[in-house]
Amino acid sequence: MKMALLKAPTPQLQWRCSVAPTTLAFPNSHSISAGRGKGREWSWRVKCTTSATTSGGGSAEIEKGAANFSPGSPVRATNILVVGATGTLGRQIVRRALDEGYDVRCLVRPRPAPADFLRDWGATVVNADLSKPETIPATLVGIHTIIDCATGRPEEPIKTVDWEGKVALIQCAKAMGIQKYVFYSIHNCDKHPEVPLMEIKYCTEKFLRDSALNHIVIRLCGFMQGLIGQYAVPILEEKSVWGTDAPTRIAYMDTQDIARLTFIAIRNEKLNGKLLTFAGPRAWTTQEVITLCERLAGQDANVTTVPVSILRFTRQLTRVFEWTNDVADRLAFSEVLSSDTVFSVPMADTYNLLGVDSKDIITLEKYLQDYFSNILKKLKDLKAQSKQTDIYF
């Protein structure tokens, strides 16, 4: 059964659903326009003309459409769909969900090396691609909650997954009567419209709000897991570590904690439609993190410090050419880095809201300490083994 058609001549998006009795044009007129000017003038913007006129007729049709999908038995609240399940955060969400007894379905892009670890844990994997909206509807059948932690890969244009894909997903969720939608955004995304990813996230938040879906938006600061590859591993391998002299502070948080808090939030009906921000216990600068890693690893790092000004300059340079636009988008965070921002929020209220003890949230010191003690022990074992098998010619 072909469930839905999407005619998407960029930049205008239109949603059509062939199953619903009448064509479901999404009430909100969201347009995305990529203005390609010249030189410094260039900036592509996501225009969110968020006219919140969810007409009664329109939503009624949507209800009808939703009713068509699920005649009879209600969807169980334990059926969830995780979008972006192979990512750093996504995999923790999946594990947590499985452990708490949810039936987890993972929306994964078709790829040559399938995400076997998800199946090994007991999740169901379905293949779909957010950038191909016609693949989405079939994956949503029988789903109660969507947890969306997908972000485009760095090498592909931000627009396809993070905006067009998300819009299609949200529209589809609405049309199929999904009962809750959890969206991960970035902290301070409303304050930095010059960064494309942040602007897209902010617009998606707005889009979600206007879609009248039952939703929770969770804004995140930074993942501790990312620091391992960025600093810890190079320091252990005595490779050069690249850091900036940016004064920005980021309150890193363990993705396992994020996953835990997320599920507490999902089950709390009072939080519907709320915006939550999760931040770690303390905000760190790059230099502080490197110093901490050095101390725990017991060796000095070979640090290459790149001044933020160079990053900014490179960004300006790459913006000039059209073929380097994606690169420029990726470097856009340098604008944020150079501003003296602190990526952190006081969490006391959030903890109260969720009923969580702040002691249960892992600190960066503890996290890295665990990591280093584990890995140093492992290295020791390996060395002891290799000594026995060394053969000299």
Binding site: T78, G87, T88, D99, R153, G222, F333, Y371, I375
Partner: protein, 584 residues
């Protein structure tokens, strides 16, 4: 070195022709000859240079290795790569690729600086590996010892079973799943690395194959209907078959280690011949020392003999008020064996279903005056049965004495006293005289101790079953529980309240014994208890009810209920179970 030089020249000449071709095709031969020659010269230097690099390494090899053959071999080995390397070095495509890789790497790091948090790239193998170390076996879920443990989940597709399987997988166990049919639907439902065994719990042969190689069993299968046949097959017979197959499997392992395995029972007495009665001594006595009482007594008598049928029979009567007869033996264990490594006694007995008192005398063997007495009451059935008596059920005769230390036990006594005999139901019409008894002894063994539970059984508390069927369902479930308790395996019996399909870990739980709970519980919480119980010493040999926390009604809060909130950080099971009775 000759070979090296030769091959280098060959490589060179081939390269020469290659460059010539390229040059001529690319630039249509418009390059002056001198230029080409200079280019060639430059290239010419290169292999020689790498040859020079090679020499000290080869010399090194010569120094450290004396064998001539080996040196030659080594030279060949050492000489080959530099030559091909030299080709690679000058290959413009390779050079281009390498420089691009180098640039990419630098660029990636550079642009990575502009990110707030990085995602894992598929090509970022090192980072991924490091993350797997962090997330994989050493993640929050991992349990030490899980890697070497294979768990058989019976009823892996049931509401609880599905979650149990996932939890086990997340914690790094090897999982076997016993399912009735291996349809595509079933296969899709289970994680891929689960070993699927097709079989029915009602069929002993398939069950035997299922327990092969398993260390622990979680039984969460339940009858699909309330038809008596189904109930009997799954809830009663199924548990029996599993325990039997598992014990057989353990025994097979124990046998292969000639009875020295930690799973072997220790034989204390086997009554198979006349001579085996040696050392057992029949005594009689009375609880009342005053002479007055004996006036109306009809006396008592008892004997222990080996009959023609090959049975060792202890029989007799006690008509005295407060009188008793007993059979006693000083234990002589094989050298190197002590009872503290055992958990209790198992007696295989037959007879007319009286109850007896088992008495252990413990104390330093050198000084009999310091011996202390410990007793435990056992009841038998009409016909043969096996009775398990854990050491923990023995109480001191004098209340002030310390608890029994099995290490010090030196004498075992079986006592019959006419008091507190329950009339046997089966022969109620025959009006038996409860003061006479007959006990056929087959063997007495000590049960090996174990730290952990071997068999987790999910039973039910009886709540939420429609009243007309409740009796039947409970009867089958209780029969299953009994067969597990008698099996000698370390067991944990979980009796959850009515199951609810919702996520676990949300509400506090109540662990209780004695059919007092009144609430439901989520399937995920039951699954979590099952998985936690596998390695929890306090869970061994316990049966308990569990449900969500509730407020007790007025006047009924006679007992203290300890609520425990399940969470990853705290181990709620140990404190909850440590207050509960063992061997229930």
């Amino acid at each position: 070195m000759n070979a090296a030089a030769a091959s280098a020249t060959v490589a060179n000449s081939s390269f020469y022709s290659q460059t010539q071709c390229r040059l001529s095709s690319d630039l249509r031969g418009s390059i002056p000859f001198s230029k080409v020659k200079r280019f060639l010269f430059l290239n010419d230097v290169h292999p020689r240079k790498s040859g020079l690099v090679l020499v000290p390494r080869a010399a090194d090899g010569k120094d450290s290795n004396e064998g001539g053959d080996e040196v030659e071999k080594q030279q060949r080995v050492m000489q080959q790569p530099p030559v091909s390397l030299s080709l690679d070095d000058v290959n413009p495509v390779g050079l281009g690729r390498r420089s691009r890789q180098l640039f990419d790497e630098v660029w990636r790091k550079f642009s990575g600086l502009g990110q707030i948090s990085r995602t894992i790239r598929s090509d970022d193998q090192e980072a991924l590996d490091a993350l797997l170390v962090r997330e994989g076996p050493m993640c929050e879920f991992a349990i030490p010892g899980a890697q070497n443990t294979t768990v058989l989940v019976v009823g892996a597709t049931s509401r609880i079973g599905r979650i149990v399987v996932r939890k086990l997988m997340l914690r790094g166990y090897s999982v076997k799943a016993l399912v009735r049919r291996a349809d595509q639907e079933v296969v899709d439902l289970l994680p891929r690395s689960v070993e699927i065994v097709v079989g029915d719990v009602g069929d002993p042969t398939t069950v035997k194959a299922a327990v092969e190689g398993c260390n622990k069993i979680i039984y969460c299968a339940t009858a699909r209907s309330a038809i008596t046949g189904d109930l009997f097959r799954v809830d009663h017979r199924g548990v029996y078959n599993l325990t039997k197959a598992f014990q057989d499997h353990n025994n097979k392992l124990a046998q292969s280690r000639a009875g020295k395995s930690s799973k072997s029972k220790l034989l204390i007495s086997k009554f198979k011949s006349e001579s085996s009665l040696h050392g057992w001594e029949v005594r009689q006595g009375t609880y009342f020392q005053d002479v007055l009482a004996t006036k109306y007594d009809g006396g008592m008598d008892a004997k222990f003999e080996f009959t023609e049928n090959g049975d060792a029979v202890f029989s007799g009567y006690v008509f005295n008020r407060g009188g008793y007869v007993e059979l006693s033996k000083k234990l002589s264990l094989p050298l190197g064996y002590t009872l503290d490594r055992y958990e209790g006694l198992v007696l295989s007995v037959g007879g007319n279903g009286r109850s007896y008192v088992l008495i252990l005398e413990a104390g330093p063997s050198a000084d009999p005056s310091q011996s202390r007495l410990y007793f435990s009451r056992i009841s038998t059935k009409v016909g043969f049965c096996r009775v398990r008596v854990p050491f923990s059920s023995f109480r001191p005769v004098k209340p002030d004495d310390p608890v029994l230390d099995p290490f010090l036990v030196h004498t075992l006594t079986i006592r019959f006293e006419p008091r507190r005999q329950k009339p046997v139901e089966v022969n109620a019409t025959m009006q038996q005289d409860l003061r006479s008894f007959k006990l056929i002894l087959e063997y007495i063994k000590a049960l090996p101790t174990g730290q952990e539970t071997d068999f987790v059984l999910v039973s039910c508390s009886g709540l939420g079953i429609e009243p007309s069927r409740r009796e039947q369902v409970l009867k089958a479930k209780r029969a299953g529980e009994d067969s597990l308790r008698r099996s000698g395996l370390g067991y944990t019996i979980v009796r959850p309240g009515p199951l609810q399909e919702e996520p676990g870990g949300q509400r506090a739980l109540i662990f209780d014994q004695g059919n007092r709970i009144s609430q439901g519980i989520s399937c995920a919480d039951v699954a979590d208890i099952c998985v936690k119980a596998l390695h929890d010493t306090t869970a061994r040999n316990k049966s308990f009810d569990v449900c969500y926390e509730y407020i007790a009604e007025d006047g009924r809060e006679l007992y203290e209920l300890v609520a425990h909130l399940p969470d990853k950080a705290n181990n709620y099971l140990t404190p909850a179970l440590s207050v509960l009775e063992k061997n229930t």
